[in-house]
């Protein structure tokens, strides 16, 4: 720079040969000099400015991604219950891998590893480590910090670890059926976990980066869920039942606050989760639910206008249709009103109601309540209803008392909620909804719904009602019992039944619908071999309601509490 400036200084040597215009020349030179100086200053200023700019601006982040498809995993948002209690979360766990080319002594390595890692598949690992062409093989994934420390302390050459996210379910199997499960790469394969994947709420990550996404809030209430599970487990012991299922659902919003299917499935053990014997009975199976369907039949008759609650039906003779005879279990020997048909759970009466309304009314009614089509829950499709192949006179009668048509219990519970909530459509959901839906479609009239509430409550308060053992003091339970014989080889098995109670509480203004089903109970409340639902499912419901009503914020009504 200085050299150039000097050159400019010397420049006048030739310009001054023409003295005539010397002054103007000198002036021009000065101008040029200033221009050059200005240019240089500009250059310096630019450099200085650039320095300042670079200093202020943080440079583009340079990320080096080591492409290692094996190490890729998925980071998932937490799942919480309606009160924010944690149901599923990701924690960083240690995963050990081996570089077979770097392992000096395979046998010694495996021996030491299997001492620190119980349950290690040594045969498989030996095969992987003997293959010297490989540079990567998993040893064990999702190891707890304590075990990881032990392995690390072995100081084995060629064994490395990385921290990976692993899905954990702190509550164990409590909400297992609904949560679903994930695979080793933390990808959801069933239940709500799969929903997270489908909705694109999981992120692919290389390391233990936790999801930034907000937690998914379910409609479940852990307290209710536990009370339900606990009472059902006790019921299974008390009545020697093989399995049980229970569901509590908000009749206005369709939010499922508790859903239990026994035997439970632990979501952290995918093998257990995928075991068909542990499949979710509420959504994964369809059952002929028996007499609880009579609630639908009565509602259908009321809705069709072919009957009212006081209309008399002569139920003394069995209903004969071809070779098929429908009888009552406990015939009353006199004509019964519709109210009494419901109370005594008369098969003949239900059949007559359905025949009177006609097969078309019956089908249309079930169709309207959504019991004829497959529905979906957030966990995936609900098992499709099993409809009769031919819907004739016999089927009209059997469907009227809950046979010949098998539905998933969750689907029935939604229909039940519609019966008592004033007749509005209910779509069961596992996600917490902010408020009651304003645009629910009307499926049945408010009047029919009021009458259904009346007879369902009567079934519990009346001494002759089959549901009288379902009374939970102060909580105004109402509902219908049902003891359905399970289909077996060559017909129905008399001693293998599903005994259910389908109801709602508090019945004067229902808030929650409840469905309790016991599979193959061997005894009832009074002992002996009486296995009707009134003696096992109904008292179980009472116990469940007594425990969950306080949790759901339902106040007992003093007038309904007997004694002081």
């Amino acid at each position: 720079m200085t050299a150039r400036a000097a050159a400019i200084d010397r420049a006048p040597a030739w310009t001054s040969r023409m003295p005539a215009g010397a002054d103007t020349r000198a002036a021009r030179l000065r101008t040029r000099r200033r221009v050059v100086v200005c240019a240089l200053l500009t250059v310096f200023a630019t450099i200085a400015g650039q320095l300042v700019r670079l200093a202020l601006k943080s440079g583009p982040e340079i990320k080096v991604n080591i492409v290692e498809p094996l190490a890729r995993s998925w980071s998932r948002p937490d799942i919480v219950d309606r009160h924010g209690r944690l149901l599923a979360t990701d924690v960083g766990m240690y995963s050990f891998y081996a570089d077979p080319a770097m392992i000096p002594d395979v046998d010694e390595t495996i021996e030491k590893l299997s001492a620190a890692l119980p349950g290690l598949d040594t045969a498989e690992l030996r095969k992987a480590l003997r293959d010297r062409t490989r540079r990567f093989a998993w040893v064990s994934r999702g190891v707890t910090p304590r075990v990881a420390q032990k392995v690390h302390a072995l100081g084995l050459p060629g064994i490395g670890y990385r921290v990976e996210l692993k899905r954990v379910y702190p509550l164990g199997p409590l909400t297992g059926h609904l949560l679903g499960t994930v695979n080793t790469d933390n990808k959801g394969i069933a239940g709500v976990e799969r929903l997270l994947d489908e909705e694109g709420r999981v992120e692919s990550v290389q390391g233990p980066e936790r999801s930034a996404s907000s937690a998914l809030r379910l409609s479940l209430d852990v307290g209710v869920q536990h009370a339900l599970a606990d009472e059902l487990k006790q019921a299974c012991l008390r009545y020697s039942a093989a399995a049980a299922a229970g569901l509590a659902l908000d009749v206005d919003t369709g939010e499922i606050v508790g859903a239990v299917s026994l035997p439970e499935a632990d979501p952290s053990l995918p093998a257990e989760w995928l075991d068909p014997a542990r499949a979710d009975k509420l959504t994964g199976g369809t059952f002929e639910l028996g007499s609880i369907f009579k609630a639908l039949t009565v509602a259908m008759a009321l809705e069709a206008g072919t009957a009212d609650l006081d209309k008399l039906y002569d139920v003394r003779q069995p209903l004969v249709s071809g070779t098929y005879v429908t009888k009552d279990l406990h015939p009353q020997g006199r004509p019964l009103t519709v109210r009494e048909i419901f109370l005594h759970s008369s098969n003949v009466g239900a059949g007559m109601l359905a025949l009177e309304a006609g097969v078309h009314s019956q089908r249309a009614f079930l169709e309207r309540l959504g019991l004829m089509r497959q529905t979906r829950l957030e966990t995936g499709p609900v098992a499709a209803p099993q409809l009769p192949k031919h819907w004739g006179r016999i089927e009209t009668i059997t469907v009227a008392y809950g046979h010949g048509l098998a539905v998933a219990p969750v689907q029935f519970a939604a229909a039940l909620a519609t019966l008592v909530n004033g007749g509005l459509e209910v779509t069961p959901t596992l996600l917490a909804r902010a408020a009651k839906r304003e645009t629910a479609a009307r499926l049945i009239s408010a009047d029919t719904s009021a009458r259904m509430r009346e007879i369902m409550r009567l079934n519990v308060t009346n001494v002759q009602g089959t549901g009288r053992h379902a009374e939970a003091e102060g909580y105004r339970v109402g509902g219908k019992t049902g003891t359905a014989e399970m289909p077996g080889r060559g017909g129905y098995r008399e001693k293998a039944v599903i005994s259910s109670f389908a109801g709602a509480f508090p019945m004067d203004a229902p808030r929650y619908a409840i469905l309790v089903s016991l599979f193959e109970p061997q005894t009832g409340e009074a002992g002996g071999d009486r296995i009707t639902a009134g003696l096992n499912a109904a008292p179980t419901t009472a116990r469940v309601v007594e425990r969950i009503a306080p949790l759901l914020g339902i106040l007992p009504r003093r007038a309904d509490i007997a004694g002081p």
């Binding site: 006048p12 040597a13 003295p19 000198a26 100086v37 320095l51 233990p208 606990d230």
Partner: protein, 125 residues
């Protein structure tokens, strides 16, 4: 020759005033360059130190976050109702029964929220 002299004379006219100024500017610029080079050096090392601190803190943050996640999971595991219920029952607690509700003030309807708060210990968090 006179032309050269004249030239000298003419150059002296203009540059006598300008040369020292240019020199001064050169010096100033050179010093500024040196100073900025030094400042840059200092800033660079400062930045590296800060970066190391940021990284350490980010690591600490990540560690804390994963610890919190682990502790939250552990707390949820310890507070699972399945475990709390037997403990609560051992302490003589039981689910509330409908007879245990008392209306303190007949004029003030107890809200559903109070009923929720009065939930028995086994189900509360």
């Amino acid at each position: 020759m006179p032309a050269i002299r004249a030239c000298h004379a003419s150059t002296h006219d203009g540059s006598d005033r300008e040369r020292p100024m240019l020199h001064r500017i050169n010096w100033v610029l050179m010093l500024a360059t040196l100073a900025s080079a030094f400042a840059l050096y200092v800033i660079k090392y400062d930045t590296r130190r800060l970066e190391a601190r940021v990284q350490a803190q980010e690591r600490a943050l990540e560690k804390a976050e994963s610890d919190i996640a682990l502790l939250a999971a552990e707390r949820a595991h310890l507070a699972r109702p399945e475990r709390l219920e037997p403990l609560a029952r051992l302490n003589g607690l039981a689910p509330i029964t409908s007879r245990q509700y008392l209306r303190i003030d007949a004029g003030r309807a107890a809200s559903s929220a109070t009923a929720g708060a009065a939930a028995p210990a086994p189900e509360s968090r």
